[in-house]
């Protein structure tokens, strides 16, 4: 027994050496390689020395990224961006900003609508900043205390398929009428501009009338699609005859030569008018780089940015009178806009979301 153990011990020593050559050395080398690779990758992803501005933006990446890249180039300030997904448009970022209120990571919130920005103000997530660039913005599109400022608006419009519809609806109320039963579509009213639209209706009409209208849509089998872009696509493809969407999406269908047109709703005498929703920008309270944030806000509110957004496929309507409107882009003065108290709409947002979730998301 003793002899066996001694032999085994010797063999273990020998085996230990051979394993070190065959196995342990190989493992050591492999670990070293992984370590080196990680160092290279980490150094490649290392932070820039100048403090970056962190912006959360709900505007589609294809439109917001070139603007932010231009800001980086001209101002020399690095921008770190968090975009919103189409599945949780605007609302996802708003909830994230509320969750991070005690320890904000963002400096600026660039929203593609206004009501959720006011929700953030009410939640004390944003800080006041009156940008010199906001001076010429019409007063209904900015907060008097500087908690937010609007620029480059989009409108809620009716899109229709020209092959299927000769006499399109002219009011959003028509969507609850029997002649459009099963032929109309809207986006999921929990997110983005559709959520804003519903909240505005709750604020302007009162809860009872707004709920009646929503129920009317449901009973009329109005389809609820995931996003405004989907509404555009489905109408252009003839899946649905008419829909409510945003001007940028509707214009995309027209530019692509699809059989679709759009019109401003409720423009007749006594009509409520079309809902115009500006982009909004707000400074985050206690953000890590307030000075950088203010520089970005000044840039976003500049006439150049409004001009760029108007010239893009999104065709956003400039709010500043000084911006030259490209051909084909509607002028602010040409549209009969809905008179909206966005603050009241912000108060109704939660009620509107809960109601529409119960009715539409099954």
């Amino acid at each position: 027994m003793e002899v066996t153990l001694v032999l085994l011990r010797r063999r273990m020593r020998h085996q230990g050496k051979s394993e070190r050559v065959g196995g342990v050395q190989f493992i050591g080398k492999s670990l070293l390689r992984v370590l080196l690779l990680s160092v290279v990758l980490v150094s490649g992803c290392a932070k820039h020395e100048t403090p970056a501005v962190v912006v959360y933006t709900a505007l589609d990446e294809m439109y917001s990224r070139p603007i932010l890249e231009e800001f980086e180039r001209t101002k020399g300030i690095k921008v770190e961006t968090v975009f919103d997904t189409e599945a949780s448009k605007t609302t996802g970022l708003v909830q994230r900003l509320i969750a991070e209120k005690q320890r904000p990571r963002a400096d600026v919130f660039w929203n593609n609508e206004v009501v959720q920005t006011i929700v953030l103000r009410n939640e004390r997530v944003t800080a006041p900043y009156i940008s010199p660039a906001a001076e010429t913005i019409p007063p209904q599109f900015k907060d008097p205390q500087g908690y937010w400022a609007g620029f480059a608006a989009r409108g809620r419009v009716i899109i229709y398929n020209t092959d299927l519809v000769k006499d399109p609806p002219t009011s959003i109320l028509d969507f609850a009428k029997p002649e459009w039963a099963g032929k109309a579509a809207i986006a999921k009213p929990l997110f983005g501009t559709t959520a804003t639209h519903v909240a505005v209706l709750f604020a302007e009409w009162g809860s009872d009338k707004a709920k009646g209208y929503i129920l009317g849509l449901r009973h009329n089998n109005v389809a609820v699609l995931p996003g405004n872009a989907t509404v555009r696509d489905m109408v252009a493809q003839g899946e649905y005859a008419v829909g409510i969407t945003d001007t940028d999406d509707a214009n995309g269908a027209v530019e692509d030569g699809l059989p679709a047109k759009w019109l401003w709703p409720d423009q007749e005498e006594g009509g409520i008018g079309a809902l115009l929703i500006p982009n909004t920008v707000a400074l985050i309270r206690g953000g890590p780089n307030p000075e950088g944030g203010k520089a970005l806000i000044d840039y976003l509110l500049s006439p150049e940015v409004e001009g760029k957004l108007a010239r893009m496929r999104s065709m956003q309507i400039p709010l500043k009178p000084s911006v030259t409107v490209p051909e084909g882009v509607p002028k602010l003065s040409e549209v009969k806009a809905m008179r909206v108290d966005f603050n009241k709409a912000a108060e109704k947002m939660r009620i509107a979301q809960v109601f529409t979730q119960q009715e539409f998301v099954r």
Partner: protein, 538 residues
Amino acid sequence: MNVPRCWSLQLYTMLTVALFIAVALLPAGFGLGSSLWVDGRLDVSAYRAVLAEGRQWGLLRNTAAIAAGTTLCAAILGVSAGLALTCVGTWARKALGCGFAVSFLTPPYIAAIAWIDLLGNNGTVARTAKLWFGDGVRLPGIYNIPGVVFVLTLSYYPIVACATFLAFRRFDRRLEEAALLAAGKLRTFRSITFPLLAPAILTSALCVFMLTLVGFSVPSLLQVNAYAAEIYTQFSAFHDFPAAAAQAAPFVLCGGAALALWASYVRPKRAWLTGVRRPQPPLSPRWPARAAATVFAGGIVLVSAVLPVAVLVGRAMPLRSFIEALRTAKEEIATTALLGAATASIAACLAFSMAYLARVRPRIGVLFSLSLAPFLISGPVLGMGLIRLWDRPGPMALVYDGIGVVLLACAGRFLFFAHQGVVAALGELHPNLEEAAAVTGLAWWRQMGGITLPLLWPSLVAVWGLIFVLSAGELEATVLVCPPGVTPLSVRLFTLMHYGPSRLVAALSIITVVLILAGATLTLWAYGQARKAVHVGR
């Protein structure tokens, strides 16, 4: 195997358990716990509200239909494909194996993007049908439960196919030969072959069931309301942690029940498969059968791997789209590669430590079986748990504000798979070498470093590769927690998606698939090298 108690092993155990708790248990606990612990007290009102809502039954029906349908279809397709693979020639097997690998390694949401382009309302098929049969033609479409089942089946059937193929090669063929002396081929297959393959098939089907149950990306893209998508909505629309977490309860119940059934009926029979250790040579059927099997398996690969990739490449053309995608997504590609490599390293190391400790201290294995929890509660709830746990001032912020939180999300989600992989590899390692070393008085850590680790190295490399590919495509938890400046490709893709593939989305999808395939190929090469280097003990 038992190792005497000593302070160094105690310390190692404590460190491993602490890391396990930080990576897996705490995020899962904070995620699920937020439905029970509201404003500092126990509160079950979130569950009451969930049960009282009529629309929950619709969600439950949709989720169950997707999970059960996908599992069944993937099992049927996978078993057929796996059996076909056993009949084909060597080169065909290698080529088809690569095809299966491409299907599995392509993240399901990328496959969904391709299928939307092909079968969507205005997809290639619909346009062609309209051209041929006029505008009146109506196709079933893809935006429904069968559409989700179809996409997920084609993504997950390779799991079943691979398990079937390996099981078929491992069981003792003499049993079949003995049965054939008295019975026909069909009866032999029904009575002998299939029962011997069944544990492997059921295990892989359980994997598919769990992956489908908690996945939210494909139902979300195909506009089907399922629980995982609903959790994401509850979080992003209302920031209602309790309601969102309460909706993860069906996952835990269904997943737990399925796992309990597996542990009771399937696991004990797993030993049947280890009757023959070395893989047996493949079958050599006559040429008609071989040709039929090749055509069948080739057809599956064509539909599940070649077609989606070709659709995406076609959509992304011209070539400059790829250059543009590469230019705008440099940082995302680097982040994804770093994230995948780092997550895989963390998960493989932790899984090895857990499996080794469970081997020397079997009782601790019960604790480590909870590694399934972060996966089972679904990605969004795990993401919420991580936010609640790490979004705090002080040192915790270092994790939450950087890539650390994304690493934890991926490592936590996939730790179970890493752990199971290492446990399986360790289970096949006979303890005689370690026992012999222990008899000579070698310290436990030298046994582990000098014997167990080198022998297990090839398996660890394989586990590393598995976690790399899973992490590189992870979306469900990452989309909630990724901080500013840290955007993996999966999140960028999901951000760009407008429920239809644009040129940039298609190009980025192909880049993601190539990155994952590159990782898998590198792992395969490293696995081969490791097998060559560590040749003792097998």
